[in-house]
């Protein structure tokens, strides 16, 4: 764990760069983490991020499938918004912990 400054705010992050406390998250922080991932956030990105935050903070485990069925975006669109490893990138930008599901 280490301290990191995003958008002028000091936050604690894990070795992989995930926020340890989702309550420290702000939209400005999301923009800066996304920049590190090479992503410029659009309103659609934020819809997905807020969906992930909302469900995760309620204790649900996120999968690519849950997001594909969210009604916000389909699986293909999710891969396009967050190219490479979408669930990991989107979770990191959303300020929640690293995804743990296998499907």
């Amino acid at each position: 764990m280490s301290e990191k400054v995003y958008a002028g705010k000091s936050v604690t992050v894990t070795e992989d760069g995930y926020l340890t406390d989702p309550n420290q998250w702000t939209k400005d922080i999301a923009v800066e983490i996304a920049r590190e991932e090479g992503i410029t956030l659009s309103p659609k990105h934020f819809e997905v991020i807020e969906f992930i935050r909302d469900k995760t903070l309620k204790g649900e485990v996120m999968t690519i499938r849950t997001i594909g069925k969210s009604g916000i975006i389909d699986t293909k669109g999710f891969y396009e918004l967050f190219p490479g490893a979408p669930l990991k990138k989107a979770s990191r930008i959303a300020g929640v912990s690293k995804p743990t599901s296998c499907v």
Partner: protein, 167 residues
């Protein structure tokens, strides 16, 4: 862990040659997991594994109730092989396995293929096995990209940081 970070897996080719639920799912879960990690993923279905991508049979995969030492009775006792030969037992065991997977929210075969291809993964059928079973391109799921030879398979798998996995 330093070594794993220096030499990440960049590409996988996963081969599925069997039609049992467990073998097919092992291949699908690993392939989908690779796609999720941003790893370039190809799948190659051959011999009985073709059942998993053939429209007619993909929804009817079974697990073997005979000669399957891992199979247990409800409660954990070993499953007697002689029971497995009775009509309907294999279907019952397969149905139980599928309902258990549904409870855990594990996708169906069709949906897995959809997830994998949506993330850029590619699905191939083995030409030799396709010829052997007298199948045609149109017999396969729309997610199957092509029917290829073993030579083409190795071309697909080529590259630094590439791994071939046979389930």
């Amino acid at each position: 862990m330093a070594g794993t970070i220096d030499h990440p897996i960049k590409k996988v080719l996963i081969i599925c040659a069997k039609a049992n639920i467990e073998d097919v799912y092992a291949a699908l879960v690993m392939a989908n997991g690779a796609v999720m990690e941003g790893i370039e993923t190809k799948m190659f279905f051959t011999f009985f594994g073709l059942d998993a991508i053939t429209k007619k049979s993909m929804k009817k995969l079974h697990t073997s109730a005979v000669g399957n030492p891992g199979l247990k009775m409800p409660g954990g006792l070993p499953f007697p092989t002689l029971l497995g030969i009775l009509p309907g037992v294999e279907a019952g065991v397969s149905a139980m396995m599928k309902s258990q997977m549904e409870k855990l929210d594990i996708p169906t075969v069709e949906e897995f293929l959809e997830l994998i291809t949506a993330g850029g993964g590619e699905i191939y059928a083995c030409k030799l096995a396709v010829d052997m079973f007298g199948l045609k391109k149109e017999d396969f799921s729309e997610h199957v990209k092509d029917i290829i030879t073993v030579g083409q398979l190795y071309e697909l798998a080529a590259g630094e940081g590439s791994q071939i996995i046979f389930t």
